[in-house]
């Protein structure tokens, strides 16, 4: 079996696994009592992650350079990033329902790459002179990872808005630490699995019970943390691009549409992070900004290419 056949096998496999994984997560969300589905979802995500990694590695071997030279490769890298961020977030938070939101994102991206792109856009092309640099790997991979994180984070913000529709909310978690205080008149029962039934009872028996996060809090904090991870990545990616541009043609910033949109994305998410610590902006407004950020990231990633000009217009990518 040659590399090309392996690639064709892997891209369809990745898509199929992600589709099944998404269904598994959704069934689990609908029927939480079916045993073992949560674990199956995690396995699905991990296998999809490895399949995409294998696909990109095969292309790396085939072309001889880091596989981020066209839209097809960058879409799969994006899907890989989404699965990787899902796995990390699921592991640190132990919340298996996370997959009901992240799996469709990863599935959608891989479907776009594997099914809707014409074959001519899937084959790898030789690099143009401007891209022949080690900076390519550094700049583009960090940018793509940040897009993955920001997409996942903003989709979670959209989920937060759906869950809390019609309610007023108070946020917990920001750089100022406005959260962490007890809410009056809310009797939430801890949903954690860390305590056994006995221990829970012992806690309930006492006058002061720890007030744990509810679903809206969880969604909000996950979204905040994942955006909080995507934001430094975006910053480092933009800076790497700037330094590269300065080394290559002597200007770290030239208001090229792509870099301008990366800046716009940065500004929107910076506004989101600041909105969380602003008194008059508490509640849902930060989440609205993050949801708007979802559209902005996609414009930055794909939309700008339709303008078809500037430094980043080589062959429809990045």
């Amino acid at each position: 079996m040659n590399l090309i056949q392996l690639e064709n096998l892997l891209d369809n496999t990745a898509f199929a696994i992600l589709l099944i994984t998404m269904l598994v997560y959704w069934i689990q969300a609908a029927f939480p009592k079916i045993w073992g589905l949560a674990g199956l979802g995690t396995v699905g995500m991990a296998v999809a992650n490895l399949a995409i990694a294998g696909l990109l590695l095969a292309r790396w071997l085939e072309a001889g350079y880091f596989p981020l030279s066209n839209l097809y490769e960058s879409l799969f890298f994006l899907a890989w990033g989404v699965t990787a961020i899902h796995l990390v977030a699921e592991r640190t938070t132990q919340k298996s329902w996370l997959g009901t939101i992240t799996a469709p994102v990863a599935m959608g991206i891989s479907a776009f790459a594997a099914l809707s792109l014409p074959n001519t856009m899937q084959t790898s092309a030789p690099l143009v002179p401007a891209l022949k640099s080690n900076w390519l790997m550094m700049h583009v991979s960090v940018m793509m990872l940040s897009y993955s994180a920001l997409m996942v984070g903003s989709v979670l913000a959209i989920a937060f808005l759906i869950v809390t529709r019609g309610e007023s909310v108070e946020l917990r978690g920001s750089s100022m630490g406005a959260g962490g205080l007890r809410r009056i008149h809310s009797a939430t029962v801890p949903t954690t699995t860390l305590l056994s039934a006995n221990e829970l009872e012992a806690l309930v028996a006492e006058s002061l019970m720890p007030q744990t996060l509810n679903l809206a809090d969880l969604l909000d904090n996950l979204s905040y943390r994942i955006i909080g991870l995507g934001f430094p990545l975006l910053t480092i990616g933009i800076i790497a691009g700037g330094v590269w541009a300065n080394e290559a043609w002597g200007s770290y910033w030239s208001w090229d549409p792509k870099e301008t949109w990366a800046l716009i994305t940065w500004l929107v998410f910076a506004a989101y992070l600041h909105a969380r610590i602003t008194k008059g902006w508490q509640g849902k407004r930060p989440a609205l900004l993050a949801a708007a950020g979802f559209v902005v990231v996609w414009i930055c990633y794909l939309g700008v290419n339709f303008l078809g000009k500037g430094l980043h217009s080589y062959g429809w990518f990045l």
Binding site: P126, P129, W135, P210, P232, H274, A275, T278
Partner: protein
């Protein structure tokens, strides 16, 4: 009189001071202003990518007519008055950036630094109501302070202990991060300002083998004149392009020498895209290329150097055209058309018919003459830059990367207090609520287990003594 003047002066300064502190600084440090600035700069940047920048006025007159106006208001007059044809260089956009910088500094001095100091000024909690305020707090009967300490240390906390109380924290660095980010942004804005005032950029298109001076200045700041080189000049020893087997461009190369007034070589380097030449703070980048001339021989003539004209097809493909006279009175000639430096060209006659394809070094008989193509000579497009802002901007970049990573760290604090038989414990974190909740619940579970086993042992001891 003098006293009165002094009085007047001090109140005047005092009033300005008060105004500065209470009014201006407060407004600048306002977070809503900061968000408005961030989004305002974003919207202006969007405008700059949607509206074509730097086109001649006629472009805007055709694309943004008086009626129907784009979006109902955006006529070419409005567009040009607002400077939307060069958004990023308009006064109001630069004013936004300056205001943004001022807001960053005001916020750092009036909010971030006091908050950092507040975060470092902790106290032990020794009252029930202080614990009751925290969401994640509880009271454990039979809990022991001694058990808490190693548990927290294991989780990576710095633990401070008083007589009957514990304070533990980790991730204070997460409170320093935003300050570093703000300062780094100020560095970047300053660097951009220095670059605009003290830097210059020039473009030179030089045929392979020719010398050049840095004289086609695209832009130069007020203080940049002294840095434009006038005591030395350059020579492009050779310019060439490598092609892939499929005919696509692989890489451009320019072998460049810098020479002093006596033609002595100061430095020499073969540059390519991503590999510039640097000399005395001035950098030469490979950015463009063109075809300068062709060398041909008609019958037994000496080698003729014919200049070429650049052209463009409707599809935007670049072509070059040379006209070679074949009669002494120049009434007839041949047109040579080429699209790259690979040494192949097409020969057209006066009736615009394609007559032959030629390669470098090859001779062909057309229109009754023997035409020999000796060489196609390329020209390199060099971008020459001097930017004194780079060190400042790179410092800003470095700080920004470090700062923004520090911002991910969550600052977590845990308090514990032994009140007789009861152990009060509670905590809060500023960013990672989920992880912190798991962490503290794990600690609480351990404490419960310890308290239960202790009471079990006590019961056993009690039973034993009874027996």
């Amino acid at each position: 009189m003098a006293q009165g003047y002094l009085f007047f002066k001090t109140t005047w300064i005092g009033a300005i001071g008060r105004f500065w502190k209470q009014e201006l600084l407060a407004v600048l440090a306002n977070l809503q202003l900061a968000i408005a600035l961030l989004l305002g700069i974003a919207v202006a940047s969007v405008a700059g990518t949607v509206i074509e920048q730097g086109k001649p006025a006629i472009y805007y007159q055709t694309n943004y007519p008086e009626s129907p106006a784009v979006l109902g208001f955006l006529t070419w007059k409005v567009l040009l008055t607002l400077g939307l044809d060069h958004v990023y260089r308009t006064g109001w956009f630069l004013a936004l950036l300056v205001l943004f910088g001022a807001s960053l500094l005001a916020c750092t001095s009036t909010r971030q630094l006091p908050m950092l100091r507040a975060a470092q000024r902790w106290s032990y909690y020794q009252q029930p109501k202080r614990f009751e305020r925290l969401a994640l707090s509880t009271k454990i009967v039979g809990g022991e302070l001694g058990v808490v300490l190693p548990l927290l240390k294991k989780q990576g906390y710095r633990v401070f202990q008083a007589d009957q109380a514990i304070y533990a924290c980790k991730g204070v660095i997460g409170r320093v991060g935003p300050i570093v980010v703000h300062i780094s942004m100020v560095f970047i804005l300053l660097g951009a300002m220095v670059a605009a005032l003290g830097g210059f950029s020039a473009t030179e298109v030089v045929p392979s083998g020719d010398t050049f001076k840095v004289e086609h200045i695209d832009s130069a700041g007020h203080f940049a004149q002294g840095h434009i080189p006038n005591t030395w000049h350059g020579r492009v020893n050779r310019f060439w392009i490598d092609y892939t087997p499929e005919g696509a461009i692989s890489q451009f190369y320019s072998d460049i020498s810098l020479l002093d007034a006596q033609e002595q070589e100061l430095t020499r380097k073969t540059i390519r895209v991503n590999q510039p030449l640097r000399y005395q703070g001035i950098t030469f980048y490979q950015t463009n290329w063109s075809i300068a001339k062709v060398q041909v021989q008609v019958n037994n003539s000496p080698i003729l150097e014919v200049p070429v004209q650049p052209m463009q097809t409707v599809e935007g493909e670049r072509l070059w055209l040379a006209w070679v006279p074949i009669k002494a009175d120049q009434s007839e000639g041949l047109a040579l058309v080429m699209s790259d430096l690979q040494g192949t060209l097409l020969v057209y006659g006066d009736q615009e018919e394609a007559l032959a394809t030629m390669r470098k070094g090859m001779a062909t008989d057309v229109q009754g003459v023997r035409l020999k193509l000796i060489d196609v000579i390329g020209a390199t497009g060099l971008e020459i830059k001097f930017d004194p802002g780079v060190p400042i901007i790179y410092t800003g970049f470095g700080l920004l990367m470090v700062g923004v990573l520090m911002c991910y760290v969550s600052h977590a604090q845990i308090w514990a207090w032994q009140q007789d038989e009861c152990l009060w414990i509670g905590g809060r974190a500023n960013r990672a609520q989920i992880t912190f909740e798991q962490e503290i619940l794990r600690v609480l579970a351990e404490l419960h287990r310890a308290a239960q086993s202790k009471s079990a042992t006590q019961t056993q001891i009690a039973l034993k003594t009874d027996a």
